[in-house]
């Protein structure tokens, strides 16, 4: 099967790739475009380590074909900071010790980024439900909840 030429916006930059239809978006991001922040933690679409933002929605990039991203607007963890300044969700994960090994963190950050746009002032229960597509082995989630709460307050104050 012939490769297909796709173009999309990645962290504000126009990018292109030549992909086989069967190539998963997560592999194209990591292997062709060298954006290795998004991770792979499973093959059954559960863990959310590959979560990125596509057209203003959180998506697991392991469960989407790269050809389907043609024309999309994508944000990955590499695009969260602006001019070297951490985004509020990044700073909050640091301040609240919301990560240890850091493997789930890029997916957690992208999900938190989008979740706080969907629900800017969530309750703890809202956060746990809103982050339920992202697994973490290290933190026990408690400090991730605190980080999202802190990021919510920061963003509200801005």
């Amino acid at each position: 099967m012939a490769k297909q030429h796709i173009t999309f916006t990645l962290n504000g930059q126009a990018v292109e790739a030549l992909v086989h239809p069967r190539e998963l978006l997560i592999h194209v991001l990591r292997e062709q475009l060298m954006q290795t922040g998004a991770h792979i933690g499973c093959e059954t679409s559960h863990c959310g380590a590959c979560t990125i933002d596509i057209d203003n929605e959180s998506v697991k990039a392991c469960t989407m074909l790269a050809v389907q991203a043609d024309g999309a607007d994508i944000l990955s963890v590499e695009g969260l900071a602006a001019n070297g300044e951490l985004h509020a969700v990044q700073q909050a994960f640091v301040d609240e010790h919301g990560l240890q090994c850091g493997f789930c963190t890029p997916g957690m950050l992208l999900r938190a980024y989008r979740f706080l746009k969907e629900n800017p002032t969530p309750t703890e229960e809202d956060i746990r439900w809103g982050m339920s597509g992202n697994l973490c082995r290290c933190t026990g989630y408690q400090n991730i909840i605190k980080a999202v709460q802190t990021a919510s307050r920061t963003l509200q104050a801005e």
Binding site: M1, L24, S45, R111, M131, S132, G133
Partner: protein, 290 residues
């Protein structure tokens, strides 16, 4: 993790999608949200030679009301169901159940049509469709036909979709002020398929149950319409004693598969308990409670 090789098509009209499906026959699969199909392909359980992506067909999206029916495009995502004010007012069981499907990311891609057409007994929408009395518009080379949800689910991964047909839209009759609903889903964790689930929608006329539909999730080869349980309650003033009897009838209609979620006995009893809970909730709501 690595799917087999296939050829990819992304038509922009239903006519083109139907033509492609006719051309490639059973070597082709339609790709909707991709959150059942791609996982199966990544494990090589499914190895279609052609994928026909429906995501660029705008007529398959959207929720509207026409001719006294609520119409849900098959490519409407789970989160769009949850966000719909029209559904919250007219078909509240659907968004309520959608909140129990998978997780936020999956709900941004997974569609109601895909959830139904997959024919997996673990999916939630089939039983919900039985409960709300939905019907499905199926489009194929010979045109469109409309079939009832009751009778559509035939077995595991087996539905009333004929070869070459695509589920186009879901039609749901709107609820009335005296309609109540409930979906009780027992699961091991958020995002898991049900160990057992029950969807109920009933309408009261005074104190008497005028109409009732009960659908059961993941306790048989496909979603089950618990007709024998419905017969216990229809035309009656629903009492706790009748709810217990109806749940026994529902349990007798189940045929669950033993797996890591439990054995046959456990799932059967949980089907009964979910039925009782959904019935109590639906009854309370029909009487005007929350």
């Amino acid at each position: 993790m690595i799917p087999g090789v296939f050829d990819y098509h992304a038509p922009t009209t239903m006519a083109d999608a139907i033509a492609l499906l006719a051309q490639y026959g059973d070597e082709a699969k339609v790709l909707a949200g991709g959150h059942s199909l791609l996982p199966m392909m990544k494990l090589r359980f499914a190895e279609p030679a052609y994928l026909i992506d429906l995501n660029k067909i705008n007529e398959l999206r959207g929720i509207s009301e026409a001719n006294g029916m609520v119409r849900i495009g098959a490519m409407t995502t789970e989160n769009q169901l949850i966000a719909s004010d029209l559904l919250a007012q007219k078909c509240p069981l659907i968004p309520e159940a959608a909140r129990l499907v998978a997780d936020p990311q999956v709900r941004n891609r997974g569609t109601i049509g895909g959830d139904i057409a997959h024919g997996d007994p673990g999916n939630d929408h089939p039983a919900v469709m039985l409960a709300v009395g939905a019907s499905f518009v199926l489009a194929g080379p010979a045109g469109e036909r409309t079939v009832a949800a009751d009778g559509f689910f035939l077995g595991t991964y087996w539905t009333g979709l004929e070869e070459g047909e695509i589920l186009k839209e879901i039609l749901v009759p709107p609820v009335t002020a005296s309609t109540g609903h409930g979906y009780a889903k027992l699961k091991r964790k958020t995002g898991d398929y049900a160990t057992a689930g029950a969807a109920v929608q009933l309408t009261l006329n005074g104190d008497v149950c005028d109409s009732i539909n009960i659908g059961l999730t993941n306790v048989g080869a496909c979603a089950i319409k618990a007709t024998e349980a419905e017969d216990v309650l229809r035309g009656q003033v629903i009492t706790e004693a009748l709810i217990l009897t109806a749940a026994e009838k529902a349990m007798a209609m189940t045929d669950p598969a033993e797996d890591l979620r439990g054995d046959v006995e456990y799932k059967t009893h949980m089907a009964g308990e979910m039925c009782r809970r959904a019935l109590r909730q639906a009854l309370a709501r029909a009487k005007g409670g929350a």
